[in-house]
Amino acid sequence: MIPALTVYHLLLLVPAPALAAFMVLGLAPVFLHRRLVMLIALAGGTAPLLAMTGMMGLCLTGQCRGVAPIFTLQVGTAIVDLALLLDPLSMITGMTVTLIGACVLIYSIDYMAGAKTADLRRFFALMNLFLAAMLAMVLAGDSIVYFLGWEMMGLCSFFLIAYNVFSDPAVAAGRKAFIMSRIADALLLGGLLLLFIAAGSVRIDALIAAGLALPEGQRTVIALLLLGGALGKSAQLPFHTWLPSAMAGPTPVSALLHSATMVAAGAYLMARFAPLLAASPDVMLVMAVGGALTAAFGSMTAIFQSDVKRLLAFSSISQIGFMLLALGVGAPAAAMAHFVTHALFKSLLFLAAGDIAHSAGDDTSIAAMKGAASRRPLAFAAFTIGAASLSGLPLVTAGWWSKEEVLDAVLGSGGAGRALWVLALLTAVMTAIYAFRPVLIALKPGPVDAHPHTPGLATRIPLVLLGFGSLTGGLLVGPVIRLLGGVHPEMPAYSVVVAALAPLTGLAISWQLSRSPQLADWLAARRLLRQGLQIDVLYQAWFVQPFQRLVDRLSGVHGTTPDPFGAAPVTMMLWLKRQLIDRFRSDGFDSGWMALAGTATPLWAVARRSQSGRARDAVMALAGGTAGLLLLGWMTA
């Protein structure tokens, strides 16, 4: 049953170290010293990067398409064969995930120094489990391992958001995130299973082939289900409300999960099933328009945010909107390129923001960033590079190259492409505005460092690494697109110039905003916009409260279960008792059995009274019975 070993079985080595670290940290019942915990976590976090670079080497030297089967199983007529897959898409995403993962874990060694050992163990165990799950999903060659990784990420995100178990908002945010992502998982599971029925096998390529062979209507349904799964996981409209509240988790979690890797899983899903989606144009259109709208909505709401982490959260929503826009217009290569660069500069922004917040006594509001430039020069510089790359300052930053690819792809896609291009440009401007607001505020003079201690080496290395990546990442964009087989469309000159001008105008507007105080107050006043058009409140009213009312009615507000459906037989009997029996005034009966025998007890009282104990009644009963029988006999003779 275990197939012959091939070189691709090395793929198993990529998620293995992280899984091993989780096993040791999470489940081993032995006491681990604090330093040992950090060491294991670090090993578990960085080893996948090495393994992945090994696989990248293999991929670059030509054999970039290989499948490593794990085991096969016969279920009825279908064959269930689990396998890992190495192809350009999984290699690029894998490399990004391992790189960002390593950086964040190194950073969190220093960042989480304050936590107790037990909590630290739990934190690192979950981070490593997340890493293993994400890598499992990325490298999965079949839908079962894929879905296993997909759901495990949701579970880790719940536990990590609710890491600080004592703060109720964090736990509530965790529950909200898990429930909404579970809705998405349900849709995805539906789609995958429908494909499994059609394909009779779980291999993704077989699924896609079977999907293409399906009739038009069924294929659209499956594509919509997969899209639903992607939208939910990547916090796109209409499933976006959980991401801003997920910021309640620690910053490394936000950096790794809720910005770079997990939320982009939706885009990866769409890229993985791109051929199937391409075959249903209307779903592509929905994805493109949805992506563009989410991008615009995300960037617009980000402008009005008062907390830097929520600002970055809305920025992630917006940037992933860009990726889905690119996928929607049929350019998965551009989307994945933007995914790589976005992972780099967004995690940089989060890590830098985290360090600045540390210096301001863990207050992540933008106002608290005043004077950050002087307090934490390196973090400030990193944040500035990140912001530049996010807004896509021309030529100098990685963000520019990948956004340029996306904009070109949108423009070149014809049809609705032109309108979407204009919307994308407008979003680019707004992105620049919200990106540079915190930078400009940080330049203003501010209070001295709350607890002065120069950040350790563990904080500085990731910032430098990611900063360098955000700047030179652009060089990677070309080879990535070529590797993914994307075609570089020839664009008219004016599009490049306009794309370059957009971030600059955004920077200028942002400069104006930081200068005039009344504009700043106007911004602060816009509460409606800050809460993202209060869609969250809307969901609360439409979905959560009615569900809660239903639950309370069914199971009783204080939980003493009337359980109407279960008690139906008993309530019916009680009703019958009231109608038929209560006319006989029966004497008292002890309460212990009342609940159960309530229905039968008055009947018993009637029966008992019939037992009057007088002999004459016995004879009368006998006479009555005989008369009855005689009449019956006489009639039926």
Binding site: A627, L630, L631, W634
Partner: protein, 161 residues
Amino acid sequence: MTSAALWPGAIALLAALMVVTRDSIVHALMYLVAMLLALAAVFFALGAGFAGALQILIYAGAIVAVFVFVVMTVDSTPEALAREKARLRRGWRGPALLVALLLLPLFGGVGIAVGNADPVPVKAIGALLFGPWAIAVELASFLLLAALLTARHLARWEEKP
């Protein structure tokens, strides 16, 4: 032959009614004797001489005699009689209805077409009782034995159970 039996039958019916409705037990007992004798007359009319004789000898003689001994113990003071009459007044409608309900089908359903045959000689009854029915007579003796044992046990004077 059956028409000759009708008159004593009517007397028996009347006597039975009186038995049940009298206040004093002695009067009731007297009417019971009258009923039994009337029935004996019916039996003779029907040619069942043996049955009639038995009726007079054992039923009217022995059983009623036992009754008389027991009746002696009853105090028939005037207020006891009044109480008895009052009780009867109150409670007779229910039982009367039940009995009427019971007799309705009986009267409706009963119908004997067969005529009358010559009287049955006593010898035939003896042959029957000590022929095929011998076991029945033995069993009857055990019935009486059981009654004897019970009566003796009940009538014991000293309290020792």
